[in-house]
């Protein structure tokens, strides 16, 4: 049973003092339903992702209490990819024809924090200040730059590209272009990463209507097919956040595993992909993920970035809507924001930031704490 996406909706990402996360979820859902031309009562099942909201399915209070199976999901930084994968698998099971995946979140400013014991870490690890994500990303890219010859200028160029793309996206959180000099000159947070190289936790919601592919033309004349939706967690030896220790043995991270499995399921390769969304928690993460997802070899990013190949109009357009750097990261919604963007791109509806040449295949990747990745491959 193949799966199609027949509707997408987004509540802008940013800071909204006048509304709750659930309010934003309801807006995203209404927009996705309108895009698909269906009513809430037509939806047969739903999955909702959130970190901050215990029960995002409470959104039914604003949409209608229809009694459908509605399951809440939290799966770290891959929450939204997990929501989409579960919704797609429910269609693949054949029990339902039309369903909804929604993500919503509303974070406080500043780095994410939690009780280390909830991540199987000892209390002293948090007391010391180790239970923190920015320094992990600093260590990861610092080592990668050492091993593969990537410069700080490349990090600044990647961040500048994402701010520039965000400026073309009316739904983005940060819409002001920043120069490479401003990015390099901003406050050092975790060497070599400066303040403007990082994304920020923020607020927003995104929703997707999924459907049996053989029924998709009832709802749209441009269905987008979900060719693969894969989630993987870390194996022993991967270099992951919140690790008081690592074994001597080293292995690839969950992104590599998810990417390979997704390409195999989709029956396409990296060379077929024309629009790419990668997890850019920081500019270094985008650089690493370009290689981890098979789009280049380690170290080739230096020349690709300098040559403008990751720009809209380049050979490998990455984070065409500004990515996490320009949109921020409401964890529950972030991956569905990526899907929203590539669906617009594959439909040719991305406006000022449309990738030229009528793209047919797109790719989205989420990655983060506690060592979890999600990859989706979509095609027109």
């Amino acid at each position: 049973m193949d799966v199609a996406i027949v509707g997408v909706g987004l509540h802008p990402f940013g800071r909204f003092a006048d509304r709750t996360g659930i309010d934003m979820g309801a807006v995203a859902i209404r927009r996705a339903l309108a895009d698909a031309g269906v009513a809430w009562r037509d939806i047969q099942f739903a999955f909702a992702g959130s970190y901050e909201i215990d029960n995002p399915d409470a959104v039914v209070a604003f949409l209608g209490l229809t009694g459908i199976p509605f399951t809440n999901v939290y799966n770290g930084c891959a929450t939204a990819a997990s929501v989409l994968a579960l919704a797609a698998d429910t269609i693949r099971l054949g029990e339902h024809e039309l369903g909804l995946a929604v993500g919503m979140d509303k974070h406080l400013p500043g780095a994410f924090s939690s009780d280390p014991r909830l991540y199987a870490c000892p209390p002293w690890y948090g007391e010391l200040g180790h239970f923190l994500t920015p320094k992990f990303f600093g260590m990861k890219i610092n080592k990668y730059m050492h091993d593969h010859g990537i410069s700080a200028k490349t990090l600044a160029r990647v961040a500048a590209k994402n701010y520039r793309n965000g400026a073309r996206n009316p739904n983005a959180f940060r819409r002001k272009p920043l120069s490479e000099e401003e990015i390099l000159g901003s406050r050092m947070l975790s060497y070599p990463l400066t303040q403007y190289m990082f994304c920020s936790p923020d607020e927003g919601a995104a929703a997707v209507v999924v459907c049996r592919a053989d029924r998709a033309h009832r709802y749209t004349d441009k269905p987008i097919y979900l060719r693969a939706s894969v989630v993987r967690t870390r194996r022993l030896g991967a270099f992951e956040v919140h690790s008081p220790w690592l074994p001597i043995e080293e292995t690839a991270g969950p992104t590599v595993d998810a990417s390979r499995a997704a390409f195999e399921k989709a029956g396409v390769g990296p060379e077929d992909v024309e629009v790419i969304q990668l997890q850019d928690t920081d500019a270094g993460a985008e650089v690493i993920h370009l290689a981890e997802n098979g789009f280049c070899g380690d170290g080739e990013q230096e020349a690709l970035v300098a040559g403008g190949e990751l720009e809209i109009g380049g050979r490998l357009p990455v984070n065409t809507d500004g990515g996490l750097i320009a949109n921020g990261e409401p964890i529950g919604a972030s991956g569905l924001r990526q899907v929203h963007e590539v669906v617009l791109q594959l439909r040719g509806q991305a406006g000022d930031r449309q990738v030229p040449g009528d793209p047919k295949v797109s790719y989205t990747q989420l990655y983060g704490a506690p060592g979890v990745a999600g990859v989706s491959i979509l095609s027109a």
Binding site: S113, D115, P122, F131, P244
Partner: protein, 143 residues
């Protein structure tokens, strides 16, 4: 003012030659830090205490230039905060340990490092809370 460790069971205390306390799996040989009761590789519950080597090489590093969110962080904040290094030190044939580094300057991947105990904060009873850190060997001395 007494000196107290940040937690029991993290490093040998008191000790003139402190060692980090890890564990080793009797079945598959993997070493963990801190000690844990079951093996993350083979799921055996036969883990025995294993004192780690006090010397190793810097495997990855960064700097912590802002105070971490508190809680869970309990160290100095505001004007009392001093940026510090963070990294993984690879202890040959044992494990890579995440650790504070005693400096933010001159750090290089592969450099030789050694275990030291350093002051972390003063607790409510006026005790000096001590934690482990690694410092570059060539920056050593008798301290």
């Amino acid at each position: 003012m007494a000196r107290v460790p940040i937690a029991e069971g993290v490093f040998t205390w008191p000790s003139d030659e402190p060692r980090l306390i890890g564990s080793r799996c009797a079945a598959c040989g993997i070493v963990t830090f801190p000690a844990q009761d079951s093996c993350p590789r083979c799921a055996s519950t036969g883990m025995a205490e294993h004192l780690l080597s006090p010397r190793g090489r810097l495997w990855a590093w960064t700097t912590q230039e802002f105070p971490p969110p508190a809680p869970p962080y309990t160290g100095p904040t505001g004007k009392a905060f001093v940026p510090y290094g963070v990294g993984y030190v690879e202890l040959a044939n044992e494990v890579k340990v995440e650790t504070r580094l005693t400096t933010t300057d001159g750090l290089r991947i592969g450099m030789a490092m050694e275990l030291v105990l350093v002051p972390f904060r003063t607790d409510d009873d006026g005790n000096e809370v001590v934690t482990f850190a690694f410092r570059p060997v060539d920056a050593g001395g008798a301290g």
